[in-house]
């Protein structure tokens, strides 16, 4: 442990990422407080257990076992000096340069590289295809939708592109955003699934993906 808190969770940007569905995106963190290690639950779904007792926040001592999902993390204070684990730190920030803007020549070079990369991407003009959502199951106002705007809302709301029917359907169940490199599915009042797996934050959609929002199943397809 260094002086910075260590985060544990399912999202890949955690200091200790755990790829398991029982683990919340940002599940817990461990930090130093007045010379002691403290573990804290970050409002996780399945909770944090210290020596098999559920805790919100607890001080740690040598030999303690933290349980997150099905993973045990052991507290080893005997070796703290010998194991400087600083891998989670941001690298030392390079010397502070004054902010500047790329000159015209450099920018042109970058744009050329971007154009070359674009030709390989799904949005390139050569492969210009229309993204669509086809309804496989569930109650919606249409059977197929073309996606055109930067924001596509799936829900009960009048503002929704994909309008879901049903009494307890949320206004904004999920949404799709158009980015430079494709379309991304994000949470609304529901955490949608892509190909059976609940998303953790904005997730890029690939041709043929199966989207589940509540009881509605949609097929994301690029059509000619």
């Amino acid at each position: 442990m260094g002086t910075r808190p260590v985060t544990i969770g399912r999202a890949p940007d955690n200091d200790i990422p755990i790829d398991n569905l029982a683990v919340s995106n940002y599940h817990a963190r461990v930090y130093l407080e007045a010379g002691s290690l403290v573990v804290e639950d970050l409002n996780s779904l399945n909770g944090l257990f210290l020596n098999d007792i559920r805790v919100e926040r607890a001080m740690l001592k040598d030999g303690d076992a933290i349980l997150i999902g099905k993973h045990h993390i052991l507290v080893d204070q005997a070796h703290d000096a010998a194991l400087p684990v600083d891998g989670w730190r941001k690298p030392p920030v390079p010397r502070v340069n004054e902010t500047m803007v790329l000159d015209t020549h450099e920018r042109r070079k970058l744009l050329e590289m971007a154009a070359a990369a674009g030709e390989r991407s799904q949005l390139s003009p050569e492969r210009l295809r229309v993204p669509t959502l086809t309804v496989l199951q569930g109650r919606t106002d249409q059977k197929e939708y073309r996606i055109s705007g930067k924001l596509t809302v799936i829900g009960h709301s009048k503002l929704a592109t994909v309008r879901l029917r049903g009494w307890f359907t949320p206004d904004i169940a999920a949404q799709i955003n158009k980015h430079e490199d494709g379309y991304y599915l994000g949470c609304g009042d529901r955490v949608p699934k892509i190909n059976g797996i609940a998303i953790g934050g904005l997730t890029k959609l690939n041709d043929g993906d199966l989207i589940e929002v509540g009881r509605v199943r949609l097929n994301f397809l690029y059509r000619e």
Binding site: Y26, G186, G188
Partner: protein
């Protein structure tokens, strides 16, 4: 829906003047943050002018439907979002013209990031490497794509995020407000939900503090102002090499009824 706000800007631990600047306009639900550049006091001039111009233009468009649109309107976003982008095009023009008229200010410019809420709809527009994040259902997503050399290289796939974090080129922007006669403005939209937290910040924060640390700070702060204060303190604790600014927006229900609290609880528990 109601928005609870918290914000702070700080010199940091190294710089001698604060070129960051922000303004919140609660009557318009408009929030703008800018990071100036240009040495001497010119960065401050640029960021202040940019923020003021955006606020004034949006205010005018609310009062008069005939307010002209600057830049090219995009067909894939709402009128409101186009208006916000228009405000940034105008800010670019104003800063550029001021710099052109005053040789001492040559090359001054600024990043800008703006968030405008109308009902449930959030419009975001930006230029440069200041960011907007959305924390929802325990997950932190960056809604803006940095216009910096390293970020663009990562997006093209010729640089890894790790190389970008260690690069000496982090201060090189590919776009800025006021350095060229015209600028390309990026815009996006979201539908906001009760329980959402938005963060607008300058690179002084994101260069010092990792995304998981930002997420855990937002998750463990009760009030928006507390979250903003703690983020600034973190950046300073880690060295505070640059000016640092943060606007934190919490979306809450007016009545805070049981049903809404249940909804937030359900969403947060996956």
């Amino acid at each position: 829906m109601r928005i609870q706000t918290g914000a702070r800007t700080d010199l940091g631990r190294v710089r001698k003047n604060n070129e960051d600047c922000f303004q919140m306009e609660p009557s318009l639900q408009l929030f703008v943050l800018s990071d100036g550049m240009g040495g001497e006091a010119h960065g401050e001039v640029a960021s202040n002018l940019a923020v003021q111009t955006v606020i004034t233009h949006c205010q005018q468009s609310e009062n008069s439907r005939t307010t002209p649109i600057f830049g090219e309107a995009q067909p894939d976003v709402s009128e409101r979002t186009n208006r916000l982008a228009s405000a940034i095009h105008l800010a670019n023009k104003k800063v550029f013209e001021m710099a052109a008229a005053n040789p001492a200010q040559k090359g001054m410019g600024a990043t800008i990031v703006a968030a405008w809420v109308e009902g449930q709809r959030l419009s975001v527009a930006h230029v440069g490497d200041s960011r907007v994040y959305l924390l929802r259902a325990g997950t932190l997503d960056q809604l803006t794509a940095d216009h910096s050399l390293v970020a663009e290289k990562v997006r093209i796939g010729i640089m890894t995020p790790q190389e970008a974090d260690a690069s000496e080129m982090q201060s090189v922007l590919t776009r800025a407000v006021g350095t060229t006669a015209a600028v390309q403005v990026d815009s996006t939209e979201q539908m906001l939900l009760v329980g959402d937290t938005l963060l607008l910040c300058s690179d002084g924060l994101t260069r010092m503090v990792t995304d998981p640390e930002i997420a855990s700070t937002l998750l463990t702060s009760t009030a928006a102002q507390e979250a903003a204060d703690r983020l600034i303190e973190l950046a300073n604790d880690y060295g505070g090499v640059d000016n640092v600014s943060a606007i934190v927006l919490r979306v809450t229900q007016k009545s805070d009824g049981v049903l809404d609290r249940l909804k937030v609880w359900k969403r947060n528990s996956g």
